[in-house]
Symmetry: C2
Subunit: 430 residues, 2 copies
Amino acid sequence: MTQQDAGNRTAADYLIASKRCDIHGLEQLLDTGRLVVAVSNLIHALQRERGAANVYLASGGRRFARDLPGLRQAALKQERQFRARLTGIDPAAGAMPGASRLYSRVAYAIHGLDELRSVREEVRGLRLDPESVVEGYSQLIHGLLAVVFEAADSAVDPDISRLLVAMFHLMQGKELAGRERAIGAGAFARGEFGERLTERLRHLIDNQERCFEIFTGFADDPSLATWRRIGAGEASTELERLRRKACTAPPEQPADPDRADRWFEEASRRIDGLKQVEDQLEGSLEHLCARKLEAARDDLDCHEQHLEALAGKPDEPAAFAVFFDGGGAAAGTATYTTDVASPQLGRSLVDLVQSQSVRLQRMSEELDEARTALAERKTVERAKGLVMQHRGMTEEEAYRFLRQVAMAQSRRLADVASDAVAMVDLLREA
Amino acid sequence: MTQQDAGNRTAADYLIASKRCDIHGLEQLLDTGRLVVAVSNLIHALQRERGAANVYLASGGRRFARDLPGLRQAALKQERQFRARLTGIDPAAGAMPGASRLYSRVAYAIHGLDELRSVREEVRGLRLDPESVVEGYSQLIHGLLAVVFEAADSAVDPDISRLLVAMFHLMQGKELAGRERAIGAGAFARGEFGERLTERLRHLIDNQERCFEIFTGFADDPSLATWRRIGAGEASTELERLRRKACTAPPEQPADPDRADRWFEEASRRIDGLKQVEDQLEGSLEHLCARKLEAARDDLDCHEQHLEALAGKPDEPAAFAVFFDGGGAAAGTATYTTDVASPQLGRSLVDLVQSQSVRLQRMSEELDEARTALAERKTVERAKGLVMQHRGMTEEEAYRFLRQVAMAQSRRLADVASDAVAMVDLLREA
């Protein structure tokens, strides 16, 4: 179809165009899904490097000196794969929904990866303190997770969107577990405990649980089966015992390298288990994208054949389908039956168009549902930021503050956050 | 940028890609806006043709016989312009957000326009009854309005989205005024009044007011000024008098062609006034799109120059911006200041990336606000359809039923509708 003959385009052409858009969206989702896999692997490698760099610095270069180069190489390999995967979302194509936000997140992550090269030099020379290095890695991982968030938020298929929402929350929960590992390992290695550490650990544990709750609400059955089999939802008895030790130890304790190692091992075992669930979920995602894409392509073939057959037949005079029979589906009042892929013989063009409309409408409703989880997360983040700004609190304090308000009022955290944001909007306008 | 050198793409490349996506989205909005203008003109012409065809058929071909061919020609001319405008949203491009839904709506409308050719023949030969012809035209116009709805729903800029939301509701309100004109004119011409007519008129008037309320909530100042100047919000005293006559007349009355004419004239004056507001709003829309596009292009130029200058400078070792200084904005906790178009001198790459992120996040929040009006409309439509299906009611009865429930519970119609939809979802799952 060229621009010149647009006046001759038929209703069938636009129905086909609509179906092609569906296919195009699924093709992009397949690429996005693969990008998410690359991000997941890169984050996993960075988490391991972070943990090792932390212990290396905390021990004045004595521990992990031999492991660190290999972990760096592994992270660099994953970084190359991540950068290669970005080809799939070619900026020149440029019109993917939400692409603008995705690219802006990618720009941030790429910049962080560029900085990492020099940071590694500083770590090697023991010229940075462990806590800020952990914070820096966490920041970069946070930036990479934002890429996954946008990928989930821009998905146009409700089932795929559900898996991406599950994936984002699993990855986020795993990262919180990773931060817990780093902070705990540092504390055992240096012997620094006390109230601030307890507070941070409690925040990280609480937040992990919230993430995993959403994960279990949106994940598919095979991933949930892996999740249950590994027991990834709960920390091991040993990890719980070490958590308790960390939280009840008096502020200044002698450094205990052995306990630091045990903590690191136990936490790593848990994180590796979470990675297994992630891998399973990634498999499901790829499989679902491929299956949906195949179905959409079959559906298009089927429609093209059917429409060709219809075009051969002369128009019956009784076929005033839009004019005298089209009310229901167009007004969104058709019964919401599941659409079958193959257009049944004898279905008119208008039947096909309406079934496409109903299908798209249903999809958009289901999509809203999956996106609500993401929207609530955005609101909580924003409320946290506003509380930090207005009350001069740290991120953890702000989160705890919102949490306490929610508990005191017996309300959901997301609702309290939403009120906080709305109130600040009012203040800003006044 | 080719796929091969993706590994070499810098953070700056992705920032530029993000900005290009913004521009691309605005370019598509400019085309979509022009399509909406073409739809508005086509609907206006079809509304006039519908009114004349109605009176022509109701009078057994005696009245409006001379005007009808001219009105048909005018509608055909607008149809050609509508079809020509569709070139702007070339299906081959295919990746516009929401394009799939838009094309499916276009397919339906195009099919209706194709049918209209044969319907016109039938009208000419007096072979159809006026009521079903009015219903048929209304159906087609409903299909065209669905195109505008999708255009509004897929807009990626919050300010433009607001104008499109205002536009859709103005057009919808005007169409309800058009249906009121047709139904009233038929009633006066045939002398058929009674409870059913009263019910339909009340429904149409009530619904118009709801649409105009949303229009005034989202329209820009110049359009609101035109709206107030013309007094388009209220019906004239004469129209109100005729409305009262129509609603209080006993079921069988002698036909009154004079009163039919006065009704038609008064209602048309009002509708023409609404069209003037529509034209003003269209002007604002085009102007806003062009202005935003220009600003986005300037912003891109500015960024490109700035980034080129940055690329020339050696990286300072202190510039670990993502690593040790990036928490705030990336976590969505940056202060929500309005972004200026020109990147100030001295701003680092990460500053620019974060300001783009914050801008996009803010835009997406504002967009949600405008889309809520559309989402609520979808919910009310769906609830109406479910009530029709489950209680065997007509559209008007279903609407009145929901309205009564809302009034009895002192709640908003949209909330009652949302509950109704949620309850049916539960029933379906059980």
